[in-house]
Symmetry: C2
Subunit: 223 residues, 2 copies
């Protein structure tokens, strides 16, 4: 059929395809596995071939954030508070779907133009909902900040994780734990789940934002 060195380039190397494969590679084998060589191997190509579609490894990572942004789900047919809440849930959802990639990429700017349309639609909804432009940026940023921060913390494993926290174990012989509040808090937190804690913050933030844009004087300290 084929000579041993030959292989038709059936899924012809493509920026799009490279990015998708990179994401899959990370999902399957962890962040450390994302190497130009490993990635090339997965694609049955030479490492250097990738460089005709992606200028550098750094650019590849930027591209990764692009495809993750594309996975965000935004339903514009909602009042802005619910839309914003769903937007935050969507961010967390993407993070949980691609934890290692989110970590790699969650802390780098979204500079690619492809990431703007989703933002536009969210900000648009805010303004259509009657929020003034200057409040819209603040509101949007607050939502993204909370969602990103929470997702990152969740991925890493919370410091305050009832299951694994060292706060309950070390040197707390029996009574009089070294960190009494944490001890008590973690005991009670063990019964409530991650979902609920995330939603607690979502609700609180949206509630606060709702009141702020309704009566706030400026993007600064109200009152």
């Amino acid at each position: 059929m084929f000579s041993e060195t030959e292989q038709a380039p059936p899924p012809r190397l493509t920026r799009e395809w490279i990015l998708r494969s990179a994401l899959r590679l990370i999902d399957d084998e962890g962040a450390a596995a994302l190497t130009m060589r490993r990635l090339a191997a997965v694609l049955h190509a030479s490492p250097m071939s990738l460089y005709h579609h992606v200028p550098s490894r750094e650019a590849l990572l930027d591209g990764l954030s692009e495809v993750m942004v594309a996975e965000l789900h935004i339903d514009s047919n909602q009042a802005w508070p619910e839309l914003l809440a769903n937007f935050m849930r969507s961010i967390r959802s993407v993070a949980r779907r691609h934890p290692d990639a989110f970590r790699l990429v969650g802390m780098r700017p979204l500079t690619t133009p492809g990431s703007l349309p989703p933002i536009e639609s969210v900000v648009g909804a805010l303004m259509d909902g009657g929020i003034e432009p200057r409040h819209a940026v603040s509101t949007f940023r607050a939502a993204v900040a909370y969602a990103r921060g929470y997702a990152l913390a969740e991925i890493e494993g919370f410091t305050l994780d009832p299951q694994t926290s060292p706060a309950t174990s070390p040197d707390a012989d029996q009574d009089r734990p070294a960190l009494p509040h944490l001890d008590q808090v973690l005991r009670s937190a063990a019964t409530s789940d991650q979902e609920a804690i995330f939603e607690f913050g979502v609700a609180a933030l949206i509630d606060g934002l709702h009141r702020a844009v309704r009566l706030g004087p400026g993007p600064g300290r109200g009152s």
Copy 2:
């Protein structure tokens, strides 16, 4: 005095000292400069000498987050809403002081026991303020999530940065910009500063949390 290969080990190599130097190195020369070799050079030591105090480069990064946590400033003599607000400001402040390090380290778990006391004191303030234990975790996490997320976004440069945003430039010949809402929003946002936008979110979040812990039924969706 000294043979040319000799050098007295005056600031004897120490985990503490290594971590401090690593942080300084990153602050001065960027994240890419943090190499076992470069770091060793700064310390006038051999790369391998570091490994007697730090098991690996990964562990060194974990240690870095430890020293950054130590820089958090917490004033316990305040009502919890103001304390929490100041805690968030402190997180952002550390991030701005060590942007590259925060980026490197901001997305990895705080698993070292040294990071617990600060948390204990914040959570303690929440509970002393009358917040129920299960609400305390949620409240704490929400605050950290927002502050971390905001600080990260700020470090990277916001996607929605009035100065540099591509939203106002590309293909928007003159009128009818491709992304009308963003265009409008960025124009007006140019007048408000970063400080104010951060504080807007802080105020909104704290306000929302305040109301949630006051009347919320559980850590979940409160009606």
